[in-house]
Structure formats: structure tokens, C-alpha cells
Amino acid sequence: MDIFVRDIWVIPLLPLIALVLNLFLIRPLDVAYRDRAASHAGAAHDSHADHSEHSSSEAHYTAEELIESSYVSAIDTVDGHIDTPAAMPHALQTAQQTSGGKQAVALMRQWEQHPEHPHGQPTVYARLAGFVGIAGMFGSFAWAIGALFAMFGNTALQKGITIPLYNWLTFGSISYHVNFYADSLTVVMLVVVTAVSLLVQFYSQEYIESEEPRGYARFFAWLSLFAISMMILTLSANFLMIFIGWELVGVSSYLLIGFLGKDAPKIDGGRPSPSAAALKAFVTNRVGDFGFLIGIMILFAQTGTFTFTEIPQKLQGTDVTLITAAMILVFCGAVGKSAQFPLHVWLPDAMEGPTPVSALIHAATMVAAGVYLVARTFLLFHSFAGPQAAMVVAYTGGFTALFAALIAMVQVDLKRVLAYSTISQLGYMFVGLGVAGTDGPGMFHLMTHAFFKALLFLGSGGVLHALSGQQNMRKMGGLAAKIPLVAFPVLLATLSISGVPFLSGFFSKDEIIAQTLAHGDIALYVITVLTAFLTAFYMFRAWFLTFGGKGGAFGGLWGGKYRGDVHPHAPGMRIWLPLMLLAIPTVFAGYWGFAPLGGNFNAFITGNPAAAPFDNPFVDPMTYVSITLAFLGIGIAWLMYGMEVIPADALTRNPIGKGLHALFFNKFYVDELYMALIRFGIFLFAKIAVSFDKYVIDGIINGIGSGVLGIGRGLRKAETGRLQNYGAAFFGGALIIAAAFIAVVYFGK
């Protein structure tokens, strides 16, 4: 069994093979085949297709009418303001000031009303690409499960072994190794990653088929790329490798968010274009990486090594303040990747990617990388750095959890609610890592959250699929009756995330709440409990708005009035099967941490059999406080949106409520603040730099140049072309020299 751990490099290798096959063999075939098929089909429909395209383009614009430069800048302006709905009218106004901008906005509106839905089916080769990707992923998943079982009961393996691959670089005493490291933490993460990846890839077959059949093979290639990157990140033995994985997941995420890159911003939905979202995600992450990189460099400069297992030994006796600073900087990276305040802004926008991507990357795996990083360097945070480091982690998490939950309460876009809920739950994990004595609670919540959040996203994808891309919850309602196979697992996940007892989310979240109290941090306890209440409320608000509503069964819980205009169509097996499969861990994963049944997640993750298991939540009286609050949240949501006995605007009628609603709805205006910072900070600097270049440096250069030219122009007048002038100058010069000579020789004495 050890082979599953010792040769754990197989796990990233299989998707790598799939990636290479897909990218360099299958996708070219797909493209070539598609072009041939298109030219065949085109022969039949050529005249018709051509005509319609021509006429439509003539009806709304002609190429000459578009002033090309203002075209893109108009889109850019709209993109820049789009996630700040309050600023939208202004943005449109700005964009419309130029004639090209007007055209562009008109065009955007047209796109919005008639989204360009690609037709046709993926080719045989595209489908093959899907199969290859899934096969690779399945192999990895099986191997990860094998590794997990190999670790059970094997403490030596749980403590971790290094799997050397090759040496990247060596200089004298310092090395940059490419090594893998596998311990229980790695394996848990790998199981989560491979399991969710596998199911998401399976699910994507149907989803992408309708969304973008031309990019089918590309999509699977990028999914494989993401899986590899995530595995490298997970398996890394040192800061070099984790940074490599870190950046690679960033770029996979960039590619996948921008997968539908040709879409325009959706002005009325307040949604940026996918390409703008991808840009924002990458750059925001880079801000975090900036800190991460400096943190790594501090540690490297102190120890001369990147390896996680060597750093603690070599850090003995180093200044604690320095290590604290380094660890807080490393945590910056985690803040960026895990979308914690203040770098959370990219995650809601990242929902512009296809929904399976949101499920895989922006809910279950990549955003958890930050949590994983802190867990991986847990020892450094808690034993080497000062207590401030862990405090920063815990309070960032706690604040973000509450902050995101408040925003999630009032959002109307289904995916955005889930996005803010993800941010909030990630905050929980950081609280767990910050306050607990081991990385167990945080990782435990990471694991359970990965399953139920992936399920929620895939479920929302099912809804979107059924409604042809409609994301606004006001246009939904009562869908449970129409797509029960999607609704049922989603209900389980909603219950789980809300903290209803006996489901996985309850166990993991409650453990974290209990840890804050055990840590003696009342403020964090209040925050986390309050967030738990809010979570239950907004999740069920989303549930009722989407699947339930007045008139449904069980008081609006199941089915109800449908408010949309698109006829919902039931999804196929490839969509609901992964949901069902994910429902299993959603319900049962929590029992791994349930001591009365023998579950000791803590012992496994720390590799220490003697480690105390999580406390049994049911014996702790404080648990019942949070359970009560969770049910209270569910109840209020039920009354407001299920039975609709309390009007939805009950709280927002008074000015305070209205103001708060606006504040939450506009996400505390953080985006606007950042926009202003970028516009009046970075861009101002940039413009100053360019002006400096243009006017000062080039001014000096050109000034010297024109000065020389001017002198030359003046001197040129001396060149009359008349020989006698030259002669006069010559002899005049001779006279001057002679006079000088005489003056020096005869009168200088």
C-alpha cells in the first residue's frame, strides 16, 4: 500500500498526460474536423447564414461608423464600473460621450438581450477530449484514495515523507529543489481535489456542451491544467513548489474565468465581462502574492532553504518579530487566494466563469489553497512567530466571515450569493486555524465545505442550465418541483452549510465555534455565531427564492410560484449524478470528526495518534446556542420568503434599514474604493511617470538636440561659400594667434 504514497507523483502525472493529449493531439484534431464539418455544412447554408449575418451587422452598425479606439475603451469603462451598480449610470454616460462609445453601448445592450448562444454539438474529438480528461482524473482520484487508505493507521506516513523529483537549481550551499511531500494533510487535500475535480469534469460534459461547444476540448484541457497545478500546490515540499503551484492555479483560474472571453459585460445584470473578471482575479491575487513572495524571501534569507521541514530547525534563535512579519506576509498570499478581506473583491466577479469552474476552483479547491498554505506552515505560525501572527489570521477570517455574510444577505444573483457564502466560510477556516492548537478544525471545515459548496455550485449550475443562463433569483422560484433531481441534493447541502445537526457542515463549523470559546476569545465567538445565524438565513433565502416560494409544498419549501420567463428544462444524468454523489460526503463526511463514533480527524491530520479528537458537540451546552440560532435563521427566511408572511421589505422600509441594505447591496463600496485607488493612485503615478519621461527626460534630450541644431544653424551662416571670407577668417585667425603669441612671449614676462 505504501506505493500509493511513495509514488504519489502519479497523481499529477495522469492529468498531465491528459492535458498534453488534449492540447496537442485531440484539440488540433477537433479544430481540423470542425472546420471541415463547418465547410461542408456551410456549403448548404452558406447563402442564408451569410445573408442574415450581413443584414444584422448592417442594421446596427457599420464598421466605418465605429471609431475604433473608443470602442474598446467604452467596454473598458463599463467593465471598470460594473461591479459597483451605483456607479453604472455614470459609467454608461462616460462611455456614451463618444460616438464610438455610443455604438459600443448599443451593441452591448443588443448582445445582452440576445446572448449569442452557440449552436451545434461538440465533435467526436471534443468528446474524446472530455473522456481523456475524466479518465486521467479518475486515475488520480483512485490513486489518492489509495494513498488515503495507505495512511490510515500508518503514523510514519501521516507525519510525511519527501518524494524527491529533481533538482531545479543548486548554488553552493543553497538549492532550489523540485520535491514532493506527502503527509496526511496532503492526502486529505488531494482526495478533496481529485474527488471534486472528477465530479466536476463529469458534470461539465453536459454543461459545456450547451454553453460553448467549440471550446469543449479546450475547457477540458484547462480543467486538467488546473488539477495539475492544484496537485503541485498540494504536494509541494517547499515554498518554491508551493509558489509555483500557487501561480499555476492562478493562471488556470484566469484561463477558466475568461473561458467565455468573447462575452460582453452585462450592463443591466451589473456583471462585468468574463475577461474583465479574469483580469481582476489575476491581478488581485498578484497583490497577495506580492506579500507572499516577500514573506518567502525573508524566510529564505534567514534559513537558506525553502523546505517546510527544514525551515523550523534553521529558524531557531531568529528574531521573533521578523518571523512574525514574514508569516503575516505569507498570510497575505493566503488572503489573496482565499479571497479574504481586503482582497475578496475578485471572487464574486469570478462567477462570470462557467459554473463548473466556479464549483471546482472558486468554491472547493483553489480558494482553499490559502487555508492549506496556513495549515502547511501551521508550525511556523504557532510555534515560531509571535502570537500576533495567529491573531491576524483569526481576526482576518472572523471579520471576513461576518462581512461576506452581510453582503450575501441582500444579493439577488444566485451565484454571487454562493460566492459571498464561500468567502464567509473560508473566513471560518481561518478562524479555525488562528485559534485552534492544531490545523485539524480548519482543515476539517475545508474538507466538508469543499463537498457541500461544490454541490451548491453545481446545483446552481443545474438551475442556470435549466433556465438558459438566468442568474437572477427574482426570475426564479418554485424550481424544486420542476427539477427535483437537482433540488434534492442542493437542499441537503443548504441544510449542511446552515449548520443543521448531523450533517457534515454542522460538525466542522461547530468545532471552530467551540475552539474560539476554548481559546477564550469572546469577540470571535460572537462573530462566528452571528455569522452562523446569518449563513442559515441567507442560504435559505436563496433556497426559497430559487426552489421554493409561496404555494409550494411544506409551506413553500418545495416548489412554488415560478417568476421567470424561460421554460425550465430538466437536466440530464450527467448533471444530476455528480450532485447525488456529492450529497454523500455532504451528509457523512462530518462523522470523521465525530468522536463518539470513533472519528478522530485531528489525530490523522496531525499524524499523532495521541492527539485529542474533536469534542463531542452534543455534550457542550454552547452548541445548542448555535443550533438555535441556525434554526432561527432558517425560520426567518422561511417566514419571509417561503410562506411570505413577513414581507421581504419589512426591514428596509425605515431609512436605517434602507441605508444598510444599500450598503450591503453595494458590498460596502469596497470595489468603488479600489477603483478610485487604482484610478487616482496607480494610474496617477503612471501618468506622472510617463509625463516625466516625455517632458523631463525627453525634454532634456530634445532640448540638447535642438540646442545643438540651433547653434549649428547659427554657425552655418558663417559658411558663406565665398573664398575671400574664408581667407579673411584664416588670416584673421593667424593674426589672433600671432597676437596671442606676442602677448605671451614678449609682454607676458
Binding site: Q724, F731, A739, I742
Partner: protein, 172 residues
């Protein structure tokens, strides 16, 4: 004051006077004629300096050939309409100043230079032998130290000049 000195003074007066006439005359033909006088007086100076051969060559080449050439070219280029055939240009004042200045500088230097100023003892010496023979040896001797190579080159220069003058002056 001996005869030689007196003749030097006369010759010098003729030289300076005709030189001034050359540059100041308004009629260019007269100027050219004064130039001929200058060449003649110069040959007299050479005689005083015991340079008989040079004196003869001076008369042959300058007073004979060059003066004739100049007169011919004046004849060929004379514009009959102009009253003033030898005008000055705009920079004549500057030119005068430069010339005067240079003259002053040179004369001053001579006057100050002790080696020359006190060189009364090194006065021009009377010739003991016939210079012409020695010059002939110096110019043509193929065996002893001589200027035969420069001389040949000079003849080549003359040849080129003749050809050049013909080519340039030829009517197309």
C-alpha cells in the same frame, strides 16, 4: 650710405609702391602693368642678394610669362561696360585691418628677435663664387646630394598644370 643700400632703398620703394598700386588702382590693366614693374624690381632685389639665377628666372617667368598671361585673361574677361574694372568688396576694411595687423605683428617680432635684430654681422655677404653653377649641381646632379627628384616632380606638376589649364580653358 653705400650704393647697395641706396639701390635697396630705391628698389624697396618701387616694390612697395607698385604693390600698393596693384591693389589700389581702379583700372585693372594699369594694375597689371604695375605688377610687371613689381616683378622687375623684385629681380633687382635678388641681384642685391647675390641670387643672379633667381633674378633671371624672375624676369623670364614673372615679368615675361605671368604678366602676359594676366594681361590676356584681363583682355578675355574684361567687361566693357564697367567704369571701375578693379573694385573692392565689402570686407576691404577688415582685410586692411588684418593685413596691417599681420604686418605689425611680423615687423614687431623681427624687431624683438635678438638673433635677427642684432644680426648686423650676419649681413648679406658678397658672393665669392658663381651661384648658378652650384644651383645647377644642386638641381640636376644624379650622383651627389641634389634636388633631382623634387625637380622631376615639379616638372610633372607643370605638365599636369598645362594639361589642366588646357582642359579647363577649352571652349566646349
Amino acid at each position: 650710405m653705400d650704393l647697395a643700400s641706396i639701390s635697396f632703398l630705391i628698389l624697396a620703394a618701387i616694390l612697395v609702391g607698385s604693390a600698393l598700386a596693384v591693389v589700389l588702382m581702379n583700372n585693372i590693366v594699369r594694375a597689371a602693368l604695375f605688377l610687371a614693374a613689381l616683378f622687375g624690381a623684385a629681380s633687382g632685389i635678388y641681384v642685391l642678394l647675390n641670387a643672379d639665377f633667381i633674378a633671371i628666372v624672375q624676369i623670364l617667368v614673372y615679368a615675361g610669362a605671368v604678366t602676359i598671361l594676366i594681361l590676356f585673361s584681363i583682355m578675355l574677361t574684361q567687361n566693357p561696360n564697367s567704369k571701375n574694372s578693379n573694385p573692392g568688396n565689402h570686407q576691404w576694411v577688415i582685410a586692411a585691418l588684418i593685413a596691417l595687423g599681420l604686418c605689425a605683428a611680423i615687423v614687431f617680432s623681427f624687431a624683438q628677435n635678438s638673433a635677427i635684430a642684432n644680426g648686423a654681422g650676419n649681413a648679406v655677404t658678397a658672393a665669392s663664387t658663381n651661384n648658378t653653377v652650384v644651383i645647377g649641381n644642386l638641381l640636376y646632379s644624379p650622383t651627389t646630394y641634389s634636388y633631382v627628384l623634387p625637380f622631376e616632380i615639379a616638372s610633372l606638376v607643370l605638365l599636369v598644370a598645362i594639361v589642366g589649364a588646357i582642359v579647363i580653358g577649352r571652349e566646349d
